[in-house]
């Protein structure tokens, strides 16, 4: 029997047409996109913000974390990456599903997935957005 699912934080991601997407703010005044979404534009301060989403991007940079940081609940090692989403001209940081840095290549296709980050104190699986390499042909 699998554990009950708990979302890490509401408003970061959702399922859309069977795909996991990140939820961004997009400023209707200056065109800047930002993640997570917020009520004021990070560049011009406007409150004319629409919600947009991204799911497919290109790997910009990455690393593997092998030492614990304060409050971390992830199993070590875990990957981190920055992924570019050209649709909204934005680069986003997050957990990477790939923990072996040697297996990754700059510019390779990545997609947003929702996956288990850790099990919380109540035995629930806490899920968050992660970046996953797109395997060829899939």
């Amino acid at each position: 029997m699998s554990n009950e699912i708990k979302v890490l934080k509401e408003g970061l991601f959702k399922e859309e047409d069977g795909k996991a997407v990140l939820l961004l703010g997009h400023c209707l005044v200056c065109g800047t996109a930002f993640f997570p979404e917020r009520p004021f534009c990070s560049r011009c301060g406007s409150d004319q913000i629409e919600q947009v989403s991204v799911s497919d991007g290109k790997l910009y940079s990455w690393t593997t974390v092998i030492h614990p940081s304060q409050e971390n609940k992830m199993a070590l090692p875990y990957g981190m990456a920055k992924v570019d989403f050209p649709d909204h001209k934005i680069r986003i940081t997050g957990v990477s599903t790939e923990t072996d840095s040697e297996k990754l290549t700059r510019g390779q296709d990545m997609r947003v997935v929702v996956a288990k980050a850790y099990e919380d104190e109540d035995g629930k699986d806490v899920v968050t957005y992660m970046f996953q390499p797109v395997e060829e042909g899939k």
Partner: protein
């Protein structure tokens, strides 16, 4: 605006001092600065104290020990720029005519390991993405790609700064290291190994500043603050805890903006500097920042490092104090540590680390949430 000079400086060694309280560290640096300036505590009109991690009213706890003179004491917390932002505020209050003499102190007792409470939200911390070295590591990869560098260039920065630190009695690590030792030290976040990252630690550094007229009554060995610029980030700066940046904007990075403002104010450009102290949080950050501050041209980094441009005898000596890689980083104190080193260098008091004939020196700091300061001193 009135010209502001540094009358005297003081420092408590950077390292780990389990038997000392932060008050002890701060008081030692303060006393040394007051003595160096030949200015009694009773004559100080305002004090700014940079610190990140200590308790409520930390500046008051350190300084009222010397006498409760009733002056304003302002506690400043701006991450790694806490000390230099205190300096900026003190300088402004003197330039504007509010005060004639000020004390600026940076003091810290930071625990070992990754720095906590850097402004991340809980969801970032729980998923391990609030690990600062991971962000430095990704930036370092980006810098390596941009400038065509490899791990040997990262190792070179660690080797050079540690070699410089051997000559600094106030540094935590006064020991040289080899490329092999740097590259084979434990991996923290690839490509950064332990010896490519600075260690948060403990220490204090202080300066007494004032108008030239006020200071000249006490001492003749002052140096001039030619400029001190302070700016915060725009969305284009990829600095934690932000998790996104817009791609392809016309925004300019923070180090270029803050250094340009200081160069313009001082009328002193990167080619006029005798030396610079930089925020070498890690080897990659120093390389990126040297380019962004206009010290090395893009595309010329590998040659500049190979030719020793940034060595103590090179074109632009960088971190002759040993930098944070050898001194360690007491967050609130690290930028004031740069001010102490630059003041000594411009006075010719830097002993075995002296850059001969130093006429102008700069200090660059960059901290969480995108704070950056750039100070230029001249003699």
């Amino acid at each position: 605006m009135r010209e502001v000079v540094i009358a005297g400086v003081g420092i408590h060694p950077f390292g780990r001092f389990p038997d000392k309280d932060y008050r002890d560290l701060g008081r030692e640096a303060t006393l040394m600065a007051l003595k160096d300036a030949n200015i009694p505590w009773n004559d100080i009109q305002v004090a700014y104290v940079g610190n990140v991690m200590a308790e409520m009213t930390k500046g008051h706890q350190v300084l009222q020990y010397f006498g409760q003179t009733g002056i304003p004491i302002i506690n400043v917390e701006n991450a790694c720029t806490s000390g230099s932002v205190g300096m900026w505020a003190a300088m402004n209050s003197i330039q504007n005519g509010q005060y004639d003499l000020a004390l600026v102190l940076g003091v810290e007792k930071a625990p070992k390991g990754m720095i906590a409470n850097c402004g991340y939200d809980r969801w970032q911390m729980y998923t391990g993405t609030g690990a600062n070295p991971a962000h430095f590591a990704m930036q370092t990869k980006e810098t390596m790609w941009e400038h065509g560098l490899d791990k040997s260039h990262l190792a070179y920065i660690s080797i050079l700064n540690h070699r410089n630190g051997v000559k600094n009695p106030y540094a935590m690590y006064q020991k040289e290291c080899t490329a092999e030792e740097v590259l084979n030290s434990p991996m923290v976040c690839d490509p950064l190994t332990l010896l490519m990252l600075c260690a948060p630690n403990e220490g204090a550094a202080a300066a007494v500043i004032g108008t030239k007229e006020a200071v000249a009554k006490y001492t003749s060995k002052y140096v001039t603050i030619a400029a001190l610029a302070f700016l915060t980030k725009t969305p284009a700066d990829s600095i934690f805890p932000d998790f996104s940046v817009p791609i392809g904007t016309d925004l300019v990075n923070i180090t270029t903006r803050v250094s340009a403002l200081a160069y313009e104010t001082a009328g002193i450009g990167p080619d006029d500097l005798s030396l610079i102290e930089m925020q070498d949080t890690d080897s990659g950050s120093q390389i990126r920042d040297m380019v962004q501050a206009g010290l090395i041209k893009p595309g010329d980094v590998a040659r500049a490092l190979a030719d020793g441009d940034i060595a103590p005898t090179g074109r632009i000596p960088v971190n002759v104090s040993g930098g944070l890689l050898s001194k360690g980083e007491p967050l609130g104190a690290s930028s004031m540590g740069q001010v102490v080193e630059l003041t000594w260098q411009l006075r010719g008091d830097a002993g075995p680390r002296q850059v001969p004939g130093a006429k102008a020196g700069a200090g660059h700091t960059l901290g969480a949430a995108g704070n950056s300061c750039f100070i230029i001193l001249k003699n």
